[in-house]
């Protein structure tokens, strides 16, 4: 599974990379630091999955997701955010992305989410406090 990591923080991208490194079936094919770059990289690399941060400069993850959904309908998207909000989860579902992972729980949740999404399931937190 080829994965594109999109986050404006270098440290976060490194963290994600480290987590994914424990798995042989997952390969990080590229990184981007904002929505605009994400769209370009996605078109260039055609990854299987994009781990997409929401809150980024230049172009946010939500807008980028919409654009990517139009141009690459088959790509899987996992939204990745600091926000803990039912509203945001609802928005994400409406957007048609496959999953949502809270960054502060990424250590434990990210691999589960990636696994779920890659087996064509969705992954959303049931309820957020």
């Amino acid at each position: 599974m080829r994965i594109l990591i999109v986050d404006d923080h270098e440290a976060v991208r490194a963290g994600v990379r480290a987590i994914l490194a424990s798995r042989n079936d997952m390969e990080v094919c590229g990184e981007a630091s904002n929505g605009q770059e994400a769209i370009e990289k996605a078109l260039e690399l055609s990854p299987d999955l994009i781990i997409l941060d929401i809150n980024m400069p230049i172009l946010g993850g939500i807008t980028a997701a919409k654009e990517i959904k139009v141009r690459l309908p088959q790509v899987l998207i996992l939204l990745f955010s600091m926000h803990q909000s039912n509203q945001l989860v609802r928005e994400a579902k409406l957007l048609g992305v496959q999953g949502y992972v809270n960054k502060s729980q990424a250590g434990t949740m990210l691999l589960n989410a990636v696994d779920a999404v890659s087996s064509m399931q969705t992954f959303f937190p049931s309820s957020v406090a």
């Binding site: 480290a18 424990s22 600091m82 909000s85 945001l88 250590g107």
Partner: protein
């Protein structure tokens, strides 16, 4: 031939002279005070009365002189001497009633007056018809004429000094009248002393003669006293009237000086119809019109174009109904520039309750208004800056610290796998660190959310408010309904923040103060207006509290903050009782000047029951 005097008649002549002098003083004062036709009337009437007095003094003095022969008088000549006396009096009154009295004028006047009196005297002598020839000693004749002129000069000078009655005491006047009255007979008796009578046997021309009977002298005395009395009396009445008038006009003048001198306030009068009737210096400075340009014009020209037709009349009606009408508003100067005025119109009634007009006091308080505006502007700016700063801190916390904590969490998880290769205690340590990181993340998130609504920037108002409302319903157990169009769209950051804060503040108030079990929020965006209504069914706000809120003075920081935030963006805030008199409704309206014109009016309703 020697004559003798009847001293009783001499005394009477002196008394009449004193009376005539007193009359002269009064008459001169009246002539001085009067204007136009009235002045002419006083001059003519006064001259007749005074002339009559001087003449009768002379006539009685003649009667006091007894000759051993019968004396008759030629009446046309007697009449001529009376005219001479009246002429002399007229000259005297004319001279003393002028504004100024220089030496040339005083001397000319006294020469004419003295000449007139001397003429009167010697014409009167010439009227005598007796069997004797009258001749004069030149030295005494000249002395008598000189005395007449000198006495006239003194009389004119004294009278001129005393003519303004409000400055002169009555005692002074009487004293002067006695001096003058004593002086006039001096001339007469000097003239008499100049005359010598030689007996003649030629019978005099007795056509047109009258005899000096007792009746004649009583009549002359009576008429003289009557004329002088009437003159003095009428002069006295007129004087009292004129003194009052003078005092009145003096106080009016002082008042006018006071009003006219005021520079900082426009003070003017209006007729009952609203036309300008007076204009002070302050009015001229404030409004730019000179008195002659504005007096007589309707005061509506001070109001801005759009208010002219109704506002001025409303203000007058209010002043009539309530006594006064105070208002702050824009006014227009002559040059078209505007100023912010504080104006008070007061209705003026006379004792019978008839409307006499209005007084209007206007003050230019543009400076104060501007100061208030700038304070408001500054506080609005401060709120914006505060919002901006909070937003910045929230972002810093959320984005930098939060992201690093997320990275730390992921790294710890990776480390956990490695630690399992070392020892159990290493794994435990990593897990403890993971717990700490999780706790820290939560802390950071809470602070950041308090500082700035999460999601507002990323997802916009609709999502952020839904999120907030959900949380609010859960915390407060208040059944909260939110109505907001599904495609509400995005607004400018300032507008979104302001609306979010209004909703947040209102919900907090409902939670803290209203006791309401439910809250309703309705946000609509129609044409270019965003309207936010937040309603509860709690105990509501009392009338007094509401008027306090309206004035803004004692309103809570929260409400004032909301209001200023909205004002800054050109919006308004209303706080009213709820629809059925139940609870409170807060209405905020904002105009969205830039975008989202095509936002349709779909209403997606999300009910957030607790």
């Amino acid at each position: 031939m020697k004559g003798s005097y009847d001293y009783r008649l001499v005394a009477l002549s002196v008394l009449i002279a004193v009376l005539a002098s007193y009359a002269a003083l009064e008459l001169s004062a009246r002539t001085t005070a009067a204007r136009g036709r009235l002045r002419l009337a006083w001059l003519v009437g006064g001259a007749i009365a005074m002339g009559q007095g001087i003449w009768s003094m002379h006539y009685i003095g003649m009667l006091a002189f007894n000759l051993p022969v019968p004396v008759l008088y030629d009446w046309p000549t007697v009449l001529l001497s009376l005219l001479a006396a009246i002429f002399a009096s007229a000259v005297a009154l004319f001279v003393v009633s002028r504004k100024k009295l220089g030496w040339p004028r005083a001397i000319t006047g006294s020469a004419i007056m003295g000449g007139g009196i001397a003429t009167m005297h010697y014409t009167g002598m010439a009227a005598m018809r007796l069997p004797a020839i009258c001749s004069y000693r030149p030295s005494l004749l000249i002395l008598s004429v000189a005395l007449a002129i000198a006495i006239s000069l003194v009389a004119i000078w004294l009278t001129f000094r005393l003519r303004e009655d409000y400055r002169t005491s009555a005692a002074w006047k009487v004293a002067c009248a006695i001096v003058m009255g004593a002086a006039i007979p001096t001339m007469h008796y000097t003239g008499m002393a100049a005359a010598r009578f030689a007996p003649s046997f030629m019978s005099p021309d007795t056509s047109h003669v009258v005899s000096t009977s007792t009746l004649g002298f009583t009549g002359v005395t009576a008429v003289t006293l009557l004329v002088l009395g009437v003159a003095v009396l009428s002069a006295g009445i007129e004087r009292r009237f004129s003194v009052q008038k003078l005092q009145l006009s003096a106080s009016e003048r002082r008042y006018q000086l006071l009003v006219n001198g005021v520079k900082d306030y426009a003070i003017f009068m209006l007729t009952p119809e609203g036309n300008v009737a007076s204009w002070n210096l302050g009015a001229e400075r404030t409004k730019g019109y000179r008195p002659e340009e504005i007096i007589g014009r309707h005061f509506s020209c001070f109001y801005p174009e759009g208010e002219r037709s109704s506002k001025p009349e409303q203000q007058l009606q209010l002043a009539i109904a309530e006594g006064r009408a105070e208002e702050e508003g824009w006014r227009v100067r002559k040059d078209g520039s505007k100023f912010w005025a504080d104006a008070v119109i007061t209705a003026l009634w006379d004792n019978e309750g008839h409307l006499q007009g209005f007084s209007k006091v206007t003050r230019d308080i543009t400076d104060r208004k501007q100061a208030e505006e700038s304070v408001r502007e500054v506080s609005g700016r401060l709120l914006q800056i505060q919002d901006e700063e909070r937003r910045h801190f929230a972002r810093e916390l959320h984005d930098s610290a939060g992201q690093m904590l997320a990275a730390l969490n992921m790294n710890m998880v990776s480390l956990e796998a490695e630690a399992s290769k070392i020892s159990v205690s290493a794994v435990n340590l990593v897990q403890k660190n993971l717990d700490l990181v999780a706790e820290l993340s939560k802390e950071v998130r809470t602070i950041s959310h308090l500082l700035h609504p999460p999601l507002l920037d990323e997802l916009g108002l609709s999502a952020a408010i839904r999120d907030y409302v959900e949380g609010f319903a859960e915390r407060s157990k208040i059944n909260t309904h939110l109505e907001i169009p599904a495609d509400f769209g995005r607004l400018s950051r300032e507008l979104e923040t302001a609306i979010f804060r209004v909703v947040q503040e209102s919900l907090t108030n409902i939670h803290r103060h209203s006791g309401s079990p439910i809250a309703r929020i309705c946000i609509s965006h129609f044409k270019k207006t965003v309207r936010v209504e937040i309603q509860d069914e709690g105990k509501g706000i009392t009338l007094e509290k509401r008027s306090e809120l309206k004035l803004g003075g004692k309103a809570g920081v929260g409400i004032r903050g909301m209001r200023e935030r909205l004002r800054q963006l050109g919006g308004t805030l209303e706080i009213n009782p709820g629809l059925n008199g139940l609870g409170t409704i807060v209405i905020a309206q904002l105009s969205d000047s830039n975008q989202n014109v095509d936002s349709k009016f779909h209403r997606g309703t999300i009910s957030c029951a607790s």
